[in-house]
Every structure is written in C-alpha cells, then in structure tokens.
C-alpha cells in the first residue's frame, strides 16, 4: 500500500508517525512545500526569539527514523483522483493508493491589494523567515499588523520584542472570536504595555493595501493611510485549497470531510488546517486551526487508513496565548450564564448553560483549565459544584468526591 501525504505540518507528521507505529511495511511518501524538515508552527516564535530549534519537533532525522520518503520543496499543483495521482510543479506525477491532504492554511487579509508583493505572512516558516530577514537586515524598523487574532497579537509582540515600532489594527476588538469584551480589553492593555501602538475602530478600518509595485501602506475607509516598513496580513486564516480546483474534491472554506475525515472522493482524506471539520461541542462546521486539532485529526486519518474504523469526535475550539506575560486561555463558547471572579490581575470566567460548562476564559491563573475542559466535553452537570467552580482551590479534590457521590 502506498500512502501519499501532502503537507508536513503537524497533521501530516502525525499521520505518518501513527501509520509507522502500527505498520512497518506501509510505503509512505510525504511532500513538503518548504525546504526544511517538518516543523511545528506554534514553536516558530520561540525559534525566532531564542534560536532554539524547538520548532523541528520531530528532529532533523524524522524521515530516516520513520523510513519514509520525504520530499522537501515539493509543491502539488493538481490532484487527479481518477488516476490516483497528483501532479507536481514541474510536471512530475506521483501515484498513490491513499492520499492525505494536509496542506494547512495561510494568513490573509481580505481587502483590495492583498495579492501585492510586500505583504508578509507568518503562517509558514518560509514566510516567517522572509519577514524576520527584513528585520535582521535592518531594512524594517516599523511594522503594521492588520488584524488582532491570536496569531496577529503574537506577531505584534514578537516584533515589538525585536525592537520594531509596531502598530496593530484592531477593527473591533482583540481576539474577538475567542474572547469576551472584558478579557479582550485586558489583553489590549497588556499589548499596549508592551509597546505596541493600537489603532482601533475607524482608525483601523483597512480597505486596501496601497503602493505601486509593492504594498507599502494600508488605506483606511476614512482615507487615512498608515505606512510601515513591514506589512503583515493577519486578519484570518485561509485553508490552502487552490490546487484542488478541478479535482472533484469538494471544498467550501476548507476541504469538506465526513466524520471519518474522508473527502467526497474515494481514498482521499484531509486533516489539519486545510480540513473543514465540525466542533466537538456544537457540531458546527468550521476550520479551527490549532495544533491539537491537527494532531488529533492526523491520528484519526491514520487509524482509518490502517483499516480501523474510527470516528472523529470533533474539533476543539480553544487557544492559549503565551507571550503576554500572563497566561491566557480561551476555551469553548461565550454564551449563557457568566460566572466571574477577579483577583488582582487574574480574571476567570466560566460560561454555563443548563448548569453545564460551555466555555471559559482564564487570565493569569489557569489552574483547573483541564478540569473545566473535561467537565465541558463530558457535558457534566456542575449544578451542585456551581458555588465552588471559581474557588481558588477548585480542582480534583472537589471534583472527585463530587463525582463519586
């Protein structure tokens, strides 16, 4: 059996590793669009700030160790399911028995001029290297980040730490999709305290990247133009699906998959940021591009490839931000009844519906996060524990006797 994995991010790597763990004969080929060994996107910032190669999370000897064919710098331009082949840039075709699409996504900003050169990205190592190269060479002394999601904030903090004058455009509020207004406001204060200039509301209502040959500034709806040496698009994430056009593989925002992560086309699977799956809690279809989801999906794909009929439980809607100085966690929804406690700089908020946790936001003190998440995912009735959930010492000592009763 020949398995072809397109993409060497966490999803693709997990597929390969899981397959090899259980089957030492299956033939595995992995294609990476980048010239490096597999790397871990969440660890890139650490690599750039400290030089520690922690992003090469599976080591430089990944391919040899697993006994797979690893082709770096290889881009797929088309998939031909009828022939069970893919076509590479340069014309070469590769055959497969089973195909795994794990091509990830990229940051983007959906405004005019987004295709111009000179707009930097941070989703891939290559893109990030290019951006950091400009900083290190001294060519860039200022940066403008369009967007204020988790990645946008991380980039802003990184660049500020590297000494750039950073401006961040926050059109509504920081990390709007993941944070409630109050937590969002706290994060805003923290990034400003780190030296990031924040433009908000109308002053942040970007309509176009402007510049002649290259994008050099961002124009606002008001007509104001804000320029910077580095422009970074970070409004949202877009799955890399362009190469699937005409393949018959159904895509919407990302590649549509069923609960076994199969596409509509036989023998083709998708996992990671390219796959449009469903929320484990709400069932809502979406792409929640975080590392743990990519790994979990990679494992499910591998199990199914191995012939073990395994359904996916659904994606987690969660994230954590590490570079703020205070830990921050955002998990699940922000709807229903809000339980809240503030202790100095710490803020903890839980969202309950019918006495069941549907989400939480923690700033500063992240203890019991895993327990909250576990109670949430099990849809446990926390009614009798309500008044204890926000106790500073809420934890296993509280939950175990309660669940044992």
């Amino acid at each position: 059996m020949k398995i072809l994995i397109v993409g060497a991010g966490p999803a693709g790597v997990t597929v390969a590793e899981t397959l090899r763990q259980h089957d030492d004969r299956v033939e595995i080929t992995m294609l990476s669009g980048e010239p490096t060994p597999p790397y871990s996107p969440p660890a890139m910032l650490e690599y750039f700030t400290t030089g520690r190669e922690v992003h090469l999370w599976r080591g430089r000897d990944f391919a040899e160790r697993l006994g797979i064919t690893y082709r770096a710098g290889t881009t797929v331009v088309a998939v031909e399911p009828a022939q069970h082949t893919v076509r590479l840039e340069g014309g070469e075709t590769l055959g497969y028995d089973r195909l795994v699409l794990a091509t990830g996504g990229r940051l983007y900003t959906p405004i005019a001029g987004e295709e111009k050169p000179g707009i930097y990205n941070f989703k891939s190592l290559t893109a990030a290297e290019e951006l950091l190269g400009r900083v290190r060479s001294g060519a860039a002394r200022s940066a403008l980040i369009v967007g204020a999601g988790f990645i946008g904030v991380e980039i802003a903090l990184l660049l500020a730490d590297l000494g750039l004058e950073v401006t961040q455009l926050v059109r509504s509020r920081v990390m709007r999709s993941m944070l409630d207004p109050e937590t969002s406001q706290i994060v805003l204060g923290m990034i400003e305290a780190r030296g990031v200039r924040v433009l908000q509301d109308d002053a942040a209502d970007a309509v176009a990247f402007v510049g002649d040959a290259r994008a050099e500034a961002v124009q606002m709806r008001s007509g104001d133009v804000v320029s910077a040496d580095l422009l970074v698009a970070a409004t949202g994430l877009k799955p890399n699906v362009a190469y699937l056009h005409g393949s018959g593989i159904e895509t919407k925002w990302g590649v549509l998959v069923d609960d076994h992560l199969r596409t509509n086309v036989a023998d083709v699977y998708a996992a990671g940021d390219v796959a449009e799956t469903f929320d484990r809690f709400t069932g809502e279809r979406y792409v929640h591009a975080i590392f743990p989801n990519a790994v979990a999906q990679g494992r499910i794909v591998a199990y199914n490839l191995l012939g073990w009929d395994t359904a996916y439980e659904g994606a987690d809607n969660m994230n954590s931000l590490k570079h703020l100085g205070l830990p921050l966690m955002a998990v699940g929804r922000m709807t229903g009844e809000e339980l809240r406690v503030q202790r100095g700089a710490e803020l903890r908020k839980l969202y309950l519906e019918d006495n069941r946790i549907v989400g939480f936001r923690l700033v500063g003190d992240v203890s019991a996060a895993g327990i909250f998440r576990s109670l949430m995912n099990r849809r446990a009735d926390v009614g009798p524990l309500r008044h204890r959930l926000l106790d500073p010492k809420f934890g296993m000592g509280t939950v175990i006797p309660y669940t044992a009763q």
């Binding site: 406690v341 202790r343 100095g344 008044h387 204890r388 926000l390 106790d391 500073p392 010492k393 000592g397």
Partner: protein
Amino acid sequence: MSDTFEHLSSAKDAQKMIRYAHEEHIETVWDRLAAQEPQCGYCALGLSCRNCAMGPCRVDPFGDGPQRGVCGADADVIVARNLARSIAAGASAHSDHGRDILETLYQTATGETSAYKITDVDKLKRLAAEFGVEAEGKEPAELAREVAWEMMEEFGMRKEELTFAARAPKPRRELWEKLGIMPRGIDRENVEVLHRTHMGVDNDYVNILLHAVRTSLSDGWGGSMVATEVSDVLFGTPAPINSKANLGVLKADHVNIALHGHNPMLSDVMVRAAQDPALQDLARSKGAAGINLVGLCCTGNELQMRIGLPMAGNHLIQELVIMTGALEAMLVDYQCIMPSVVDVAKCFHTEIISTFDKARFTGATHIPFDPKRGIEIGQQIVRRAIENFPNRGPRVVIPDEPVDMMAGFSVEAIVGALGGTPKPLVDAIAAGHIRGAVGVVGCNNPKIKHDYGHTTLTRRLIENDILVVVTGCAAVADGKAGLMTPAAAEMAGPGLKAVCQALGIPPVLHMGSCVDNTRILVLAAALADYLGVDISALPLAGAAPEWYSEKAVSIGTYVVASGIYTVLGVQPAIFGSPNVVNLLAGGLNDVVGAAFAVEPDPEKAAVLIRRHIEGKRKGLGLPFVEPDTIVMPE
C-alpha cells in the same frame, strides 16, 4: 464562591464587609483558611508530636503505618500530651492576664499608680474574708495591699488547695480531692504540664489527662477567677446596663478608637482620657464631632459590662472593622489579636497601637503600657488617634445600624435582680417554667459560619425555656442578633418569657468576657449549694459552638471538671486516639459527672442539651420530659 458571603457569616454587617474585602482584594481570615486547606490530618487528629528532636513523629490513624513515635509514645500518649499542652497554654493565658490585673491592684494599693482606684470596696472585703485577711479597721488601700499580697500566693507553691476552690460545692471538692486533681498553685500546675509532657515523664494517658484537668481547674477556679474578681474590685462589679452592638457603633463623623484584646487596664484609662475636654477640643479642631470609643472582643466585653461601651464586634470582626475606613486607631492589648490586623491596616489610615511588652506586632506602633503613668499614656494614644483623623480616606463604609443590647449581669447583679437570693430562679426551674440554664460561650472560628452557631443554638434554647448566659464572642453574637434586650423575651418559650418579663431582664444574660466564665462557675456553685447538691446534678450545660482558642480548651475542661456537660461545635485535636475520645466523651461521666460532646450543627446541639437537661431534671425528681422523646433533627 457565592458572592453573597452568607455562608461565611450570619451577621449582616460582616457579610457586607466580607464582600467589600473581596472586591478590594483585602485578605481576610476566610481567605487564609481556604489557602490552608487541606489542613494536616495528623495535626488535626492530635497524632503529630514535635516535643523532641528525635521527632517530629506522627502516628498512622489507620493502623498500618507507624503506631509509635521514636520514643515509643503511642497515639493515646501523643494525643494526651498535645491536649495537655493546649490546656496549659489556655490556662496560662487566662492566669497571666489575672496576674497582670492583680499586680495593678497591688500597685494601686501601694500608691505606685494613681491611674486606678479601689472601686468595689464591698467585694474587696468579701475577698479579704476568703483569703483570711482581717478587714476590720483597715483603709481600702491597706486592705487591698494585703489581699493582693495573699492572692499572689494563688500563683505560688505554698498552697495545697487554691483559695477560690473553696467556692466549689463540698461534694465537688471532695471529688477533686479523691481524684488527686485539686488545683494547687496556678503556675505550678502549668509548669507541671510542661514537665509531664516532656519526653519520658508521664507516659500514661489517663494520668496525663487527669493532670490536664487539674491545670484547667487552676484556671477556672484560679487564674481566671483572680482576673474577674480583681477587675471587679478595680473597675467595679458590673450591673445591668444598656449598650449597642455591631459595626454600626462606629460614627462616621467621630474619631473612632477600637479597644481590642482581653485586658481592660489600659482601656479603662482610655475611656477617661477620651473625656478630657482638651482632647475633645482637639478632636473638634480636626473636624471631628467628637471621640467615639468602641469595644472589640473581650476588652470590649469588659467595658461593655461596666460602662456600656458600644461593642463593634467579636473575633472575626477584627479585620473587618478596619475596612470601614472610619477607624483612627485600634488599641490592642493581648490574646486573639490576629497578626493580620497590621496588614489590613496598611490598606487604610488606621494605626494599630500595641500596648503590652509581651504582645508586640511587627508593623504596629508600640506604646508600652505602664500603670504608673496610665492616664498620661491614655491621653497620648487618644491624641495620636485624633491627629490621624485628617488622614482618613474618602471611602467610609459603616455597614449597618447598631442594635440595642443589655450587658452587666455579674452574679451579684443576677442575684440582685432575683431579689437578693437565687430562690426565685431555683423555684422557676423546679416548677419547670425554666427547664435549666446553659452557658453559651467561646470564640468565633472561620470553620463555622460566623455567629451562626452561637445565635442558632441560643435561639433554640430560649425557645425551649432554657435560660442562656453568655460570655466572650458568644455574647457579642447574640447581642448583635437582638437576643439580649428585655424585649427579646418575646422570642423565648412561655415559661422563660414570663420570668424575664417579671424581672425585666433579657432571656440571654451577658456575664462578661471569657475570663468571666468563672462567674458562671460561681453561679452554678451557688445554685448547687442552695439545693444542697453537686453541680453535676443540676440541669445545666455549657456550649462552645464556634471555639478556636487554646483558652477555650481550658475553659471547656474546667467546666466539665466542675460537673457541667459541654457541647463543642468544633473538634478538639483528639480524634486520633479512640481511648482519649471515649474518655472525654463518655468515661469522664463516671469520673467527674460530666463529659464532652462534639456537634457542629447548632440545631442538633440544642437537642443534645435539651435531652441532657431533661435527664438532669429527672434525676432531681423535678417534672421532666423523657429525654429520648425530644426529636433530633435530620
């Protein structure tokens, strides 16, 4: 955590202030208890021993792990030694307090201090008779000097029996004699506890506990009684007086000074200093309407009993009172003063002023009290407080309106109210209008909802025609709850209500501070003597629903050793030894005619006590209800 804070205190003023503390991130005793949880089970069970450097040791309560310390002491010996040391600490606290007062009486008598005077000469004469001092033809000062001199020997080693022990009924004294627990010199008993609990001395848990009981008797019929009696001589024997209680006694437009602790010596002076017209003028010149002194804990009780000083609150209020932002100074003497008051005060303008060299607080202002310059020091402190008034912050939170309460029921006052003899009370008990009497005493403890134990138990008892006498934090709790006015008779059962209304007294009588539990002993002895029986035959009980302190361990022990059944709301650290538990909760009945019970639920404690009282009534041949028919709530 519930944001109403009703689970932490049943007192409205406290609930509001705890919420305020929470909002302002000011740490309180409840936060620190939560931070301490879980508390060490070995220690809570009494099974850890740090008495020597072969240790520390602990015994596995389940029997699988180590069953003996390095020295070989088993659970029984370790628990008994620890309990004995607790009792000695409590007895020492009361007795050292008594000694300080006694020294002041002596200095007053010899003229070394002019800050005090002999206020109750009649009491002095009665004491003289007890101590074998001839009163005839002597000036009060001379008599006081001789009485004080004799009384000092209560602390010494020449006596085989404390003089005050003679106040106990004869059968009780004979019992103590027979058991070898007749208290001798106060200091001796306490030192002997430390000796016996040193490694390799007393290695028999029953023998250790018997001596611990003796030590507690040297407190109740010794050190504490000295404190009460001599305080009465110096400051006056309390008589019924109207007062007010809760945080509402603070006045937003006054210079407020809280008097906190247990020893009223300096506070008595403060009351006079605050009346100084020059200081009153100074206060007005700083924009204050006047000077307002308020009491806290037992120093507050001492002053409330004698002059009706308004009472700001009990033990768990001490941090909250500072948070009102209206307190210029908190004057502290000793015992039960949390080190944390200094930290809370840092968030406000309040100055914490310590006054005893034996009780200093890092971060507080120390103005050592010297009875020889008493009034001068008092004025100095009042002046400091006045000068601190302009430093007050903009936010003053006085959470409630004060509640009326009555205080001042010394034994003399109670007997006085009865017409000079215990007979009317005995008759009312005999007829069953009043079923019995119970002392609800002791501290606050954040493990029990603040004041809930005291007030709930008191309510259930008076509803069932049981007269309640209170001291210490319990008195403050019941006062704040409105149980201590003559009008509160309405809350009592019909029999007690009628008696209270006839006498114009509340159904809950304030008998003073925690050293004043000795007044309860004296009252119990008087009733027993009147009936010609031992105290243990009487329909009486004690309860400490919210106790925390080692002093309370000593009190509970001397009360039981005096023959009064006592229900504790909080567990003492003895549960690691079934033998000790069985002895204290049962076996003691056969030894001293009373025992302990532990019950955190005041509703259930009330039933335990009612059953006990009916049992005692039955024993005396008085009309009774069959104890077992009183239903225990679920």
